[in-house]
């Protein structure tokens, strides 16, 4: 076999054919989070605080709704492409409770998790060669989806000194004639930041001025740790409904990561275009999961409150444990989600040479994995500003968090 740099070429085959293969995928990377999980799987007794998976099982009320649907024999067939009408109606009711008014018939689309919604959105609203601005550090898969669409991700740093807030002047500088959208996660993964109404309205002003879409991924919006704090969404503003595409997933709020279901909403003129892509990608979201989503909206509020309370306790625990390691880490206290994103302030550690990208946060994460069997995600995975940080998930149980930090204490204290 001859090598092309991208893939092995069988002897006797035309090498040019292989050079031009995988053009679309050659710049994609397997998510660093998944790479860490694969590496962690090689160590016995690993505690993974890497992947953002809730420790909870899907609530019983949701399972009962699914059992009923299974017994009734209604899950074997496709649903309408935008989703079961009654589910979309429930979503419209839920959105109205949050001051967002969208037509379930034409403006709400049930997706196979938020990532499918993101993919369909990016493919619908951009053309190859366009640019999408992403505040970073942020969720790793945004980059891959944007590149898959032939679009260039343009990173703009969040300000760690200001608690990972937007710096609007940086966005203005990053906007070019090719910019199509600003794509942000609120509350943000991995920093746990909730963007203020003022910051978001500033972003909306920029979008109006430069005729941009705003893609708002709000999958962690049900987790708020400070009393009285609320999450404002630009999708609440009727005058922005032709600019804002808002995404939500049932994965985090209802402990349903495996069900792969979520939704998006925006003005009819946008959603009907996204619907065409959604139909190409998945035809419809898994019908059994749509029934699970109905159960979640009908009966899951109590469980969401319980999860929020538990994550708040875990946030407090993990912050207390990090405080004990203040010579190693500094951090901004997360207000939402279930991640903390500490900066590694002790830089003079002796780290081995690992088979990994040339990055301190990568080598630090692998050092932790090798020495303590605790898996975390190197911060650089979330964008250039994430370098010198690690992401620690507190989606895992208090027992796991304590056990993982006992090991870190042994290493660092």
């Amino acid at each position: 076999m001859a090598g092309t740099g991208h893939c092995p070429v069988p002897a006797g085959e035309n090498i040019l054919y292989y050079i031009y293969m995988f053009e679309r995928t050659k710049n994609l990377k397997l998510s660093v989070i998944k790479q860490m999980e694969i590496r962690a799987a090689k160590f016995p007794n690993t505690i993974s605080l890497a992947q953002g998976v809730p420790s909870f099982d899907t609530p019983k009320c949701i399972k009962r709704r699914v059992e009923l649907a299974l017994r009734q024999g209604v899950v074997a067939k496709y649903s309408l492409s935008p989703g079961i009408a009654e589910l979309r109606e429930l979503i419209e009711v839920k959105l109205a409770e949050q001051n967002m008014f969208y037509d379930f018939e034409k403006e709400i689309l049930v997706t196979a998790g938020s990532i499918e919604g993101i993919t369909a959105t990016i493919l619908a609203i951009t053309d190859p060669g366009d640019e999408v601005i992403i505040p970073e550090p942020t969720y790793t898969s945004y980059r891959e989806v944007i590149i898959l669409a032939g679009v260039t991700p343009v990173y703009v740093s969040l300000s760690e000194d200001k608690g990972w807030a937007f710096e609007l002047e940086e966005y203005e500088k990053a906007i070019t004639p090719r910019t199509k959208a600003i794509f942000y996660c609120n509350p943000n993964n991995p920093t746990g930041t909730i963007y203020s109404k003022e910051q978001l309205l500033g972003l909306a002003e920029l979008a109006e001025k430069h005729n941009l879409y705003l893609i708002s991924d709000e999958v962690y919006k049900d987790f708020i740790f400070e009393n009285g704090q609320s999450i404002f969404s630009l999708a609440e503003m009727p005058e922005l409904r032709r600019r804002v595409i808002r995404l939500f997933s049932f994965s985090k709020s209802y402990a349903m990561t495996g069900w792969r279901t979520g939704y998006l909403h925006s003005d009819e003129s946008i959603v009907q275009e996204i619907l065409k892509v959604h139909d190409c990608l998945v035809t419809c979201a898994p019908v059994i999961s749509q029934y699970a989503a109905m159960g979640a909206l009908e009966m899951g509020d109590k469980d969401v409150k319980f999860f929020n309370h538990e994550y708040e306790k875990r946030r407090d625990l993990i912050c207390a444990r990090l405080d004990k390691l203040s010579h190693i880490f500094s951090y901004v206290r997360p207000e939402s989600a279930y991640y903390v994103f500490p900066r590694i302030i002790k830089k003079d550690m002796k780290l081995d040479d690992y088979d990994c990208p040339d990055s301190f946060s990568w080598r630090f994460a692998l050092h932790l994995l090798e020495k303590t069997q605790v898996a975390v995600v190197p911060g650089v995975a979330f964008g250039p500003s994430g370098e010198n940080h690690i992401r620690i998930s507190f989606g895992r149980s208090e027992k796991d968090i304590n056990c993982a930090f006992d090991r870190l204490d042994k290493l660092f204290l």
Binding site: K60, C61, V74, I84, E89, E92, F104, E105, E107, K302
Partner: protein
Amino acid sequence: MKPFFKTILKYYLKYITRLVLFIHQPKIIAVAGSTNKSFVRDEIKKVLLEKGRTVRANPKNFNTEIGLPLAILGVGSGYGAYYDWLPIIGDAIRAIWRKDFPEYLVLELGVSQRGDMAYLLSIIRPEICVIADITQRYLEAFSGLDQLLQEYEYLVKNTKNSGRVILNYDNLQIRHLAKRAKAEVIYFGRIVPAEEGFRIEDIERTEKGESAGIRYKNLHKKLHIPRFGEHHVYAAAVGVIMQENI
């Protein structure tokens, strides 16, 4: 929840609810259909409150064999947890002596299999019923649309003779339910002649929601609804019918 406990709970709630309804004698408005029930229910509740009436409507999905009595009694649900049901069972019986029981109950009725409507109507007897919309898309355990329609026929037939049956004229199957009604029938929809029912005209989407006109005989109203979607116009049309009939 074990089927045995569920059956006991179901009948306990049914008979307590019947007793409570007998004592307090509220007027019952039932809203049924496969879609747009919730928005119609909310619109009716809004109109009644504007008229100064006291109203209770079912929250969320409290529209089935267990949920409907809970909604009428004004108590929560224990869902799948036995210990959560204990205080609810006590609260249910206290509804008998409540002084603030509302004048009107606006109740969304959910049916997912044959016989559901008969069971729900063994608990309540509506003064007014509204059939919002019926679609073939959500048949659940029904063998076909005809079987689903039998459920709504049962509701129309069992609405009090002195009451009203309010039907969506635009849906042919719903329109034909009028043949089963013993009470006065009132239609609403886009294609109903203004002499025969509340005709929806000139639906237009604005920056702030939907606008439309409602015409019925000499009545003409312009509506501005701060929501998006034509189904809200249909719900608002039911609201106008309520304004004119209560």
